[in-house]
């Protein structure tokens, strides 16, 4: 039932933009930034500290359609740079495809949208000798590629410095309807606007 609720949100969101009317212009942009994953959810040391923002650079491309009444539709695709494990066994990267709506007010813009967030995990197999009880044991490593897929809600805001450059802060809300595993990731981006190509 939770999954169908996400689908219903998707339907009403897309319907909202169907009634906004014609497209006036478009803008292609490229952004570079950092993704702060699952803020406050991950333990980072033995003293119980949790994460605030790790180093997880991202790159994204946006195709923004200018609509009427200062609204625009800005679908975006992006990814984080692949990470290798501390011992190089696990490779992880994230990909996202989001459909954001934007409201432009003076030099500011406000963002809300929905999307899909993919977590890609891969490893080449093998074994790792690790401590186990009072001795050691050989633990198998993962072998293969797996994608998990989350439906996310996005909220954010940004500032236009000039016609070429802007900056955004965007929050990705995971499992919005489920308190148990709800989490927020935050993306900080610098954006270069190519305008109409």
């Amino acid at each position: 039932m939770k999954n169908s609720k996400y689908s219903i949100i998707l339907f009403y969101y897309s319907f909202f933009f169907l009634i906004l009317g014609k497209v006036y212009a478009y803008d292609v942009s490229l952004s570079v930034g950092n993704l702060c994953e699952y803020v406050g959810k991950i333990q980072t040391d033995d003293s119980g500290s949790t994460n605030l923002c790790g180093f997880d650079p991202l790159i994204a491309g946006t195709f923004e359609y200018q609509l009427k009444n200062q609204f625009s539709l800005a679908p975006e695709i992006g990814l984080t740079f692949p990470k290798s494990g501390r011992d190089s066994y696990i490779n992880k990267m994230s990909l996202f495809a989001i459909a954001n709506g934007k409201y432009n007010y003076s030099n500011y813009h406000f963002i809300a949208g929905v999307g899909l967030f993919f977590t890609r995990l891969s490893s080449s197999g093998g074994n790792e000798e690790l401590r186990n009880g009072t001795g050691t044991a050989s633990f198998p490593l993962a072998n293969g590629v797996v994608y998990s897929r989350n439906f996310i809600l996005n909220f954010g805001a940004g500032y236009d410095f000039n016609k070429d450059w802007s900056a955004d802060v965007l929050a990705f809300l995971f499992n919005a309807l489920h308190k148990e595993d709800r989490a927020v990731s935050v993306a900080f981006k610098g954006i270069y606007h190519f305008g109409e190509l």
């Binding site: 998707l10 497209v23 180093f55 009880g133 198998p140 993962a142 995971f174």
Partner: protein, 264 residues
């Protein structure tokens, strides 16, 4: 300019590091269902300082404070019931003698996870070993049932742990029940040793449970997911297709008044 960009990119790639999780078997066996019940064997705990009802309460905290918080995995563990079990769960061997660990079939758990106290010294190499865990009922690549034995011998270390530490110990053992091995880093729940200030999952704990039980929102097709499942690619295509559809829809209907985007 270009060499600086390449150097910077290489620097970025070197700095980004993820953790490393391991599995407890090479076949990456998993539970078939997204919800797994964790039950307690009754009347087996004599020397750990708590009864089975309190142990069940600790299980509830363990699943809710740790594994069920992972945002990218579909597996949910639920505290079950306290139930009567064979006396062999208190005194028997978890693995057959003289084997690396062939599970003792007498103690096969029919479904979910069973936690029992056990006082057989052959199961624990020393009193410093808090618990042992084995998925002991497997069919193909599917875990049907897993068993956790808590060291209930006189002089065990479990009794001296705080409640918070007991919660993290149980959570660690539950990680083994659904397919995870140990982690090499101390900030992970699946590190081989307890840490007094354990409060949350570590990064590779989340990666490990996600690898074994990836979430498939907004729709799923069944609860068993194979590695490299085309369903995952389908999800990527759904996402890109949805965005393309919206973009193309507006383009087709209203591409009439193209003006330069009014930017400052």
């Amino acid at each position: 300019m270009r060499p600086i960009i390449y150097l910077s990119l290489g620097f970025l790639l070197q700095l980004t590091r993820a953790q490393a999780f391991t599995l407890n078997n090479s076949a990456a066996i998993v539970f078939a269902h997204d919800e797994v019940s964790v039950n307690i064997a009754s009347n087996n705990c004599s020397n750990i300082g708590i009864d089975e009802t309190e142990l069940l309460s600790i299980v509830a905290d363990a699943v809710d404070s740790y594994w069920n918080k992972s945002p990218t995995s579909r597996l949910k563990l639920r505290a079950g019931i306290v139930s009567s079990q064979l006396a062999a769960f208190k005194t028997g061997l978890i693995c057959n003698a003289n084997t690396s660990c062939d599970p003792n079939p007498t103690l096969a758990v029919s479904s979910g996870v069973l936690i029992t106290c056990n006082n057989n010294s052959s199961n624990f190499s020393s009193n410093a070993v808090l618990a042992v865990t084995v998925p002991n009922n497997i069919s193909g690549n599917t875990i049907l049932g897993s068993l956790i034995m808590i060291n209930d011998q006189v002089g065990n270390v479990f009794i001296s742990k705080s409640r918070a530490e007991k919660v993290s110990i149980i959570a660690h053992e539950l990680g083994h029940t659904f397919g995870l091995g140990h982690s090499p880093v101390s900030d992970s729940l699946m590190y081989y040793s307890t840490v007094s200030m354990r409060k949350s999952l570590g990064a590779d704990d989340i990666d490990g449970i996600t690898y074994l039980y990836p979430k498939q929102q907004p729709v799923t097709c069944g609860t068993i997911t194979e590695k490299n499942n085309p369903n995952s690619w389908l999800g990527l295509l759904i996402g890109i297709g949805f965005i393309s559809l919206l973009a193309g829809l507006f383009d087709k209907i209203q591409l009439r008044y193209l003006k330069l985007r009014p930017r400052v």
